[in-house]
Every structure is written in C-alpha cells, then in structure tokens.
Assembly symmetry: C2
Homo-oligomer: 147 residues x 2
C-alpha cells in the first residue's frame, strides 16, 4: 500500500546548522563532490532522526496516558459486568480516526490499522481485569476467610 | 487486512445508543440502587471515552508528523542508495523507548511491539520509495526523452 507522500524539494535539506549544501542536481563528475554530498546526507539523516526520537517520546507518553484511561474503563466494565469489547464504539472510533488522518495527511488505512493494534492490546487488558475481578468475586463469595 | 475482532459475550453488548441494561453482578433485590450505579458508571464511561478520543487525535497527528520525517529519511536513503532498514538504529530505538515506557508506567513490551509495528510500516514505505527512485534513475539513464 502506498500513500501519496509529502514531496520534499529534492536535494535541498538543511543541515544541522541550517545551511543547505546538497547538490543532487549537479552531475557526479568528481568523487570529492560526491563525498561532500554524502556528508550532508548523513547530517540530514541525524537531524531527521532527532525529530523522530522526539516524536516517539511524545507518542509513548500519550500511549501511557491512553492506557491509564482504558485501564479505568476496563475496571468499570468488569465491576458492571459489561463486555470487554464494544463493536459499535470501535466502528465510530475508526471512522473518526480515518477522517482525522486524512486531514493530517496520514494514510487513513494506516490510522485504522494503528487503532486496531491498540484496541487489540486494550481488549487483552480488559479480559485480564475481568478475569481478576471474577476471581475476587468468587473468593469473596466463598466467605471472609478468603478475603 | 482484517484484525481478529473482539468477541462479545453473547447477548450482553451495550445497545447502539450507549445504554447498558445488564444486571448480572447485582442482587435482584436492589434493582433501583443498581440502576443509579449503572447510570453513574455510564457517565464515567463517556467521560473516559472523551479523554481517549482526545488522546487518539493527538496520536494521529504525531504519527502524521513522524511519517513526514520518515518519508524524508526514505528519500534521502534512496538517493544515496542506503538500505531501507537499519538494524543497529532500530535496536537503539527499542532500547530507548522501553526505558521511556518504564518511566511513564507503560508496559515496555507493548512499547517495543508498538515501535516494531510502526517500523514495519516505515520500511514498507522506504522500499516503495527506493523502487520508485530506481525506476526514475533507470528512466533518466535511458535518455532525455524519458525525463
């Protein structure tokens, strides 16, 4: 699956200090010019990886917060004997995220895959919570000695 | 791609309008108290889902930004004939994200699975870019008529 991606002006990436040195449009006549281009490419790669690392840190922290919410949902559902999964809610979430992804120029199919990946994990958590809650309820019903 | 869907306990799903009518865990005597508790639970569920939706919107936008970065990395790698995947970089990313996840009280194993999920998508994109770049280079080498 390919998605129409953002086009960058070819060979014009800024280096770490903000200068642009790339010269892709020129003929690779000299080996020296090629090695300068390689050095600039390496700097540009490090620069982009720095941004990716920053975004990943933000993603991990948001995911941690999201699981705090779904953990509470799981406990709520277990206490009220609600089913761990909710297909109608999931369908609405997928529809919404696909729309948001389109606006953000993210492949909507990927956004859907991403949400399914997260939901799969959440439902596993909810099942575990439901099992624990059921065990605790059973132990409680067995009498005070068990509690 | 279809994702293994959550199976709901038969006949216990919430209705489309979000109401829940289950009373499995409650003693039949206290029907009214149970319905007040159910109402409070339903409100709490909607509250938590609001937070989850906000976090998901943030996640989608960060992912869009991340793919803009990796798109540029992909083009850089294709121009300089670097391999799409980089196992040493990936190992360092996983190690770092696991540490960040631990600090944020997110399951490090999940953080690793998440990164692998994203990287899998990115590498697919990079291969597509590399293929396109190779095709373009071949077309260019064929003469100005192709360009």
């Amino acid at each position: 699956m390919t998605y129409p991606k953002q086009d960058t002006a070819p060979g014009t990436g800024p280096t770490m200090n903000g200068e642009t040195h790339m010269s892709e449009g020129t003929a690779p006549a000299a080996g020296e010019a090629a090695s300068v281009a390689d050095e600039a490419a390496r700097e540009r790669l490090l620069y982009l990886r720095g941004s990716i690392d920053n975004l990943d840190a933000a993603l991990v922290h948001l995911l941690a917060e999201r699981f705090k919410c779904t953990q509470q949902v799981g406990e709520l559902k277990a206490r009220h004997s609600l089913p761990p999964a909710d297909p109608a809610r999931e369908a609405a979430q997928i529809e919404r995220l696909r729309r948001l992804a389109e606006d953000a120029k993210l492949d909507p199919a990927f956004a859907e895959k991403f949400l399914n990946f997260i939901i799969g994990e959440v439902v596993r958590h909810h099942r575990a919570i439901a099992d624990r809650t059921h065990e605790e309820a059973t132990a409680e019903a067995a009498g005070p000695a068990a509690g």
